[in-house]
């Protein structure tokens, strides 16, 4: 085991500045109104840096810089842009521990996850889109002997991106990589709960990009997010967050007649058919882990498998084994590589999770594990820690219908295939799902029948570059992590060319 030194103490892999300004036009720019807010680490509940409290004025400066940079960046060759993205990936790979500790301190998540998942994946997504843009062809069609239709991909220009706090660096990269590969300039607003780690990334990679190609303005949603999302100087707005803000952003986009991609959360079913337990072998062990993945990232994942559906014959035994396993989850200092579950990202997130545990109890759900806040003592006593929590109930309960965004699992049973699919699809969301079965036919059919953009079959919580990610139903619009995302950041230019010398003959 390793325990990384806390930032601000000797030996830490990362040194935070006491104050962060906005990153605009390739340099640090103080907020126009001169206001800052404190960034709190959920690990201890204490502030560790001041961050610019950006406003509409700062967004305008960032848009100025982006508009200045966009034309030249948009004319660079895919080869040049791919080279830049690959350089960024190399720098991220060379600084994994520094970025991982920064991310853990900002967000609260366990450092074993940031080291093994968040940061390496961020590098890989840049590499994927570096490859995808080079491999992307235009299109042409010979419409008749003398007429050819050519289709070219062109960047949109300047785009806005609003990033969530659950994977601050990785979620930024999911949006930045396709946008930059496609030749756009970006104004990005991080979440106000986790404003710093992205700035640490910009300190690292900022010089590789031409000034103004990426601009980062921090601040509150109303003061900085809204002026960005509603600006008539962006050609697209991308957002990950919740449904009401998603709808509001789509309303702003409609006012400007620009496209918007929105990823808005989920309440993902994780379905275990009886045959998973026919033997207590490696696959059973894998399925058990798949159940316990509700606690991954403290449950703060839009696709968290937050509803477990167990077939009746295995309900008691499978759940019993899984509760035993979940009870062994190691909670502790997020900077300890042995820690499996860190802190919730903010105090209000903690309060919200506790409020759901309360309504779950009132609705008559049966508590099988956890259900309380955890005091880890010492420096961590004011951090935001919650026990992994498992409730048994039924699918009409609010516990089963609302995204709690915490380590709270709602478990129910099903009788047969049709019952499983019916319960799985009885939700307003459709982002993720899991299907576990030794029968390939059943697993395939269930995967196709569940109304969700990503169905993991006999695995869960893998997010490789290349696999398209996005929602059905109220979980949003658009796809990320796949070359399809390039299309969300490109215009289509049709050049319709006549190679004939002869007139039309109409006039």
């Amino acid at each position: 085991m390793t325990v990384y030194a806390a930032p601000g103490t000797p030996g830490s892999t990362v040194t935070f500045k006491s104050r962060y300004e906005n990153w605009i036009g390739g340099e640090w720019v103080a907020p126009v109104k001169g206001q800052y807010f404190e960034d709190i680490t959920p690990v201890t509940g204490k502030p560790f840096a001041e961050v610019a409290r950006g406003t509409a004025e700062d967004i305008e400066l960032a848009l100025d810089a982006a508009h200045k940079a966009a034309p030249a960046w948009g004319k660079t060759s895919p080869t040049e842009r791919a080279a830049v993205l690959n350089k960024i990936a190399d720098l991220i790979d060379a600084n994994v521990e520094m970025l991982a500790v920064a991310e853990t301190w900002d967000n609260g998540k366990a450092v074993r996850e940031t080291i093994n998942a968040d940061i390496p994946l961020a590098a890989d997504h840049f590499r994927y889109f570096a490859s995808a843009i080079r491999a992307q062809d235009g299109d042409h069609a010979q419409l008749d002997g003398d007429t050819v239709s050519y289709q070219f991909h062109e960047p949109l220009g300047v785009v806005g991106q609003i990033i969530p706090w659950n994977f601050p660096i990785l979620m930024a990269v999911w949006k930045l990589a396709p946008a930059l590969a496609a030749g756009n300039a970006v104004v990005l607003k991080p979440a106000e709960q986790t404003p710093v780690s992205i700035l640490v990334l910009m300190e690292l990679i900022g010089d590789i990009l031409p000034p103004g190609v990426v601009n980062v303005v921090n601040g509150f949603g109303l003061e900085a997010g809204k002026p960005l999302a509603s600006s008539n100087r962006i050609r697209k707005i991308a957002f990950t967050g919740e449904t009401t803000t998603g709808r509001l952003i789509l309303q702003y986009a409609s006012a400007n007649i620009i496209p918007s991609t929105v990823e808005l959360g989920g309440k993902s079913p994780n379905i275990f058919f009886s045959d998973v337990a026919q033997e207590k072998d490696a696959f059973y062990d894998k399925a058990q882990e798949g159940f316990v993945l509700f606690a991954f990232n403290q449950g703060e994942v839009c696709t968290a498998p937050s509803r477990a559906l167990l077939q009746k014959p295995i309900y008691d035994s499978f759940l019993g084994d899984a509760v035993t396993r979940a009870r062994k989850i190691i909670q502790g200092n997020p900077l300890d590589t042995d820690t499996q579950m860190g802190a919730q990202a903010s105090n209000d997130q903690l309060e919200k999770i506790l409020s759901y545990i309360d309504i779950g109890t009132k609705e008559g759900a049966k508590l099988a594990l956890g259900g309380e806040r955890v005091d880890l003592g010492g420096d961590l006593t004011d951090g935001y820690y919650v026990q992994p929590t498992i409730f048994e109930g039924h699918n009409k309960m609010r516990l089963f219908q609302e995204e709690i965004f915490g380590p709270v699992l709602a478990v129910t049973s099903f009788t047969d295939y049709d019952d499983a699919i019916s319960i799985a699809n009885d939700t307003i969301y459709g982002l993720g799902a899991g299907v576990w079965s030794r029968n390939g036919n059943v697993a395939y059919r269930a995967g196709r029948d569940i109304q969700a953009g990503r169905v993991w079959v006999n695995n869960y919580h893998a997010y490789p570059a290349g696999a398209a990610f996005g929602g059905y139903k109220s979980s949003g619009i658009g796809r990320e992590n796949n070359k399809l995302a390039l299309g969300h950041y490109q215009q289509t230019k049709n050049l319709l060319v006549s190679y004939s010398e002869n007139k039309l003959g109409f006039f």
Binding site: E242, M397, Y429
Partner: protein, 162 residues
Amino acid sequence: MSTPTITASVTIAGETVPRVELTPVAVDLLRSLWEEHGPLMFHQSGGCCDGSSPMLFMAGEFITSDQDVRLGQFDLAPADAPSQPLDFWMSAEQFNYWSHTFLTVDVVPGRGSGFSAEAPRGVRFLIRSELMTTMTPFAAPADTDRVDADAAHPPAPAPVPS
């Protein structure tokens, strides 16, 4: 005089019992935000990072439609003062799953909340819930591994936008 709890008027056709209330600390915060921003509205969010929280907007900023239900209207004004109406909205599809619960809007320390107006104050609105006494609650699970959902829970009342 201490700030009172404020209960929303009934705005859903055919209903007679309120569905939403404000704690005194929520009333104080809303009155202060009203002074800063003018008329306000709530729209209850679902899903993801900042979700499942009531979002406070300038009145009319969020365009509601037939896909939304107005759960109630608060009047923030003290007695004898001109009315300060504040509507509480939720999407109709979400209301289908929430309709059996009474909602209390409270305030906790926190940060970040989409575009909600309270965030710069370092606080967030939070929903606390009770089962509605007038709605048929979920039957206590007799069979603890699962209650048959359809049998235990009557269909939610059709949302009536108003």
